[in-house]
Amino acid sequence: MAITSTQSLNKKGALNATPFAILAALICAAPILAVGWIALTGDTGDYLEHLARTRLPTYLVNSAQVAVFAALGTGLLGTTLGWLIARTEFFGRKTMSWVLILPLAVPAYVAAYAWLDLSTAGGPLQAVTFGLFPTIRGSWGAGLMFTFVLYPYVYLLARDAFSSQSADAFDAARTLGASPLRAFFQTSLPMARPAIAAGLALVMMESLADYGAVSHLGAPTLSIGLIRAWSGAGSLIDAARLSLVLVVIALLIFGLERAQRRRARSVTGSGKHRPAPRTDLKPASALAALSLCLLPLILGLVAPMARLGWLALKEPIAAGLVQASYHSLTLAIISALIAAALGLSTAYALRTKTRIATIAARAAGLGYAVPGAVAAVGVIAILSGIQGMIDPAWTSLTGEPFPILLTGGAAALIFAYLSRFAAAAIGPSESALSRVTPTLDGAARTLGATPLQTARRVHWPLMIAGITSAGLLVFVEVLKELPATMILRPFNYDTLAVIAHAYAADERLGEAAMPSLLIVLIAILPMIFVARYLSRDLSGASQS
């Protein structure tokens, strides 16, 4: 029934966003395809053979460990917190519901700088624990850092899944004698699994593509390996080949996530929607819940910021921070708007369930899988290729080369950002749109609404939160992004991340501290606004 109604909608020329999904796919996948081209057509040396004999196994093991630690940590933390906020009531819950999103504003490399500095031999944590506090490093340390700053992905998606779940299944399980915990594992968790899986997929891909944190903490993953192939052996071609391995891993993660989603389809879909009420926690449990909410905040946000603030106090303030903030904001806002639009159109296109839309959506997700430096190489290859075609044509027409150098403008940078992060917008948009069941469309159309009216009056109110959070994720990602920014920025165009890195790379953590703090502050201000907005209907539900 549902499927036929969707199909008939399409035939009548309902909103078809497939062209935009294809555009999104082109923007996102083109740099990766360019890198693939470099990888497959380049000369073959013996470097990869040498690597396979020496370091490759370590890279693979470390990558697996980092991704698994990060997934375990964020999965456990994000799901638990999501459940607490969505389904229980305790003092401070309302505030926590949005404050818990904020550690996402902290770049993993900033958390790594701060935590290694705190826990290093002779550092403050070892001093007060007589050397017992372990130094945070290696793959478990990197996994921990990603847990601290990426758990909001899982939290956000799990929370919204839990709070939009109907109470029926959970209540039925309870009526049948299941303990609350058992009812959770047998009804609520399976229903939330697609959302959690989407969050985990983001976490795993982000940790696999990370360079800054893993290199600082001494966890050589594959992304370190490919940068090393590039910088060490000077072989961009071999680096491109290694990045293809990352792309394959990303495809696998995607595939698993999709499989989750498909399995879950059969579970959901009760017609009558009765939101689950929140259970009032007893004082002791409420205190425990509140502490559990405060813990990740302290670990992911307060402690690293406090340490950096402490270091920043003692150093002169780096020059150009105001202008760099302006640059960072400009880039982040433009990219977020475009990414949200692309995410939305891809989600719409996916709704048509055509093969081409599905392929486009998956292709658009690939950009997230490779380190920013690699995406940047792809962007450079494409733009210089296009330039190489335009210039002769333009010269033959006007006698002068094309006036614009494509790699020299901010558009190149935004291209790279979209390639990297549009995937972050597609997931949330898709799950937002999935709240709009085909039957709703059917109802609206039966009542005489045009497709556009249906979109505006039925879809939009249901999706706005999801779309906003999609844009927000991209905004924060762009603000934190480093390698692509460094290489593709126009002349005299510093961003906060670039300044922070310049000092941190030179081990001037004190001077890196202020721009790092500013990144977090700038990310947090709009995030507070949006996080509160996203969390607003959570307070409404309990009153009904």
């Binding site: 966003a17 935009f20 040498h50 020496t54 290694l116 290093t120 031999a121 002779g122 070892q126 130094t135 290696g138 903490l217 001494g218 050589p220 940068i227 590039w230 910088s231 060490g232 052996a233 961009l236 270091l311 003692k314 150093e315 020059a319 433009i334 475009i338 639009a341 692309l342 159109s345 430096a373 940047a376 450079i380 290859a381 733009l383 210089s384 330039q387 190489g388 210039d391 006036p403 614009i404 150098l405 790699t407 020299g408 403008g409 901010a410 190149a412 979109a455 505006r456 390698p483 460094m486 290489i487 920025r489 126009p490 002349f491 005299n492 165009y493 310049a502 000092y503 081990e507 001037r508």
Partner: protein
């Protein structure tokens, strides 16, 4: 509606935000610098240069390999006039990629020692950093260690702090040993260091010095300026860490201490070659050399440069490895592969 929105956003990105690099020819002179350095000293140098010559400096600072790739991809459209990188191996790579215009630097900057100029005349070094050894003031006697080669001796088992092998300065140190003693000897040395490590490589050079202070290791291999930064730090803990170790320049009786360089070259397709020459010449001026030493704790290349930096003054004089620094680039890949084979993380 959505369509409009997307179009508007796309238009914004392409027009409003992009800054096409059409050059304003005529009255104002400018020079485009692609630099892998990212120091406050450099900003001061460029400002002084602009004040002196009226030439505006346009700057992109990024990782050396990425800069090389961007300049290479843009080909004859590249706006780069001057390419600056740290680490001789990166200079070598930029040279291999054909990014530099051959220039007679011994004529442009006559005061420079020959081993700091690329023999093929593509680039010239304008700052030095020495990779040296720090040892615990308490647990190691002065004179117990005098060369890099000594570090591989089993008596230092479990007592060495050194960072990971991805670090350019570890690579150039090993490359210098390859140049001096051959690949096999270098590999034996690297394997000996791995066997002597007090802990898996982690953190930066300053963390190695702090490792000595925390009692984790007795000797560390670091760049001289990290020690200077700790010694001059605003944080008391940093100064204490520096005080717990003694810095010395190895191989003074033999090859000399290992040095790496920052170098500059005029880009092959430089749109402003004359301004590029002026800027490079300025890097060797008294002003520029003084800023490099005073603000960044690097060593000057101009012998009679005047500067005031007591911490650095106390380290001088020392004998540096007089082999041409371009050899560090020649042997970089060999050094990398040795690191891979001996399992130096």
């Amino acid at each position: 509606m959505k369509t409009n929105f997307i179009l508007i956003a796309a238009a914004l990105a392409l027009t409003g935000c992009s800054q096409p690099s059409t050059e304003v020819e005529g009255t104002s002179r400018e020079v485009n610098v692609f630099s892998a350095r990212h120091y406050r000293s450099d900003a001061s140098i460029y400002a002084a240069f602009t004040e002196l010559t009226g030439i505006d400096v346009n700057l992109i600072e990024a990782n050396g390999d990425q800069l090389i790739e961007r300049v290479r991809a843009d080909g004859d459209r590249s706006p780069a006039d001057v390419l600056i990188t740290v680490d001789a191996a990166r200079l070598h790579r930029a040279e291999q990629a054909g990014l530099f215009a051959a220039t007679d630097y011994s004529d442009l900057v006559p005061s420079i020692a020959p081993h700091l100029i690329d023999p093929d005349q593509y680039w010239v070094s304008f700052t030095l950093r020495a990779r040296v050894i720090a040892f615990s003031a308490d647990r190691v006697e002065a004179g117990e260690i005098s060369t890099y080669e000594d570090l591989a001796d089993p008596r230092w088992a479990g007592r060495i702090c050194i960072r990971e092998s991805g670090n350019a300065y570890n690579q150039s140190l090993l490359a210098s040993i390859v140049a001096r003693s051959g690949e096999d000897a270098a590999e034996a040395w690297a394997a000996g260091i791995v066997a002597n490590m007090a802990r898996p490589p982690q953190g930066g050079d300053r963390d190695q010095i702090k490792g000595i202070a925390a009692g984790i290791c007795d000797v560390a291999v670091v760049n001289h300026y990290y020690y200077a930064m700790l010694a001059n730090s605003a944080q008391e803990a940093d100064r204490e860490a520096a005080a717990a170790s003694v810095l010395f320049f190895p191989n003074q009786e033999s090859s000399g201490a290992h040095i790496n360089v920052s170098g500059a070259g005029i880009a092959a397709n430089a749109p402003h070659p004359e301004e590029a020459r002026e800027l490079i010449a300025f890097l060797f001026s008294q002003d520029a050399q003084r800023l490099i030493v005073e603000m960044n704790n690097e060593l000057p290349v101009v012998a009679d440069a005047e500067w005031d930096n007591p911490t650095l003054q106390a380290m001088l004089p020392f004998q540096e490895d007089a082999r041409n620094v371009s050899e560090l680039g020649d042997h970089n890949e060999t050094a990398q592969r040795i690191f891979d084979r001996v399992g130096w993380q």
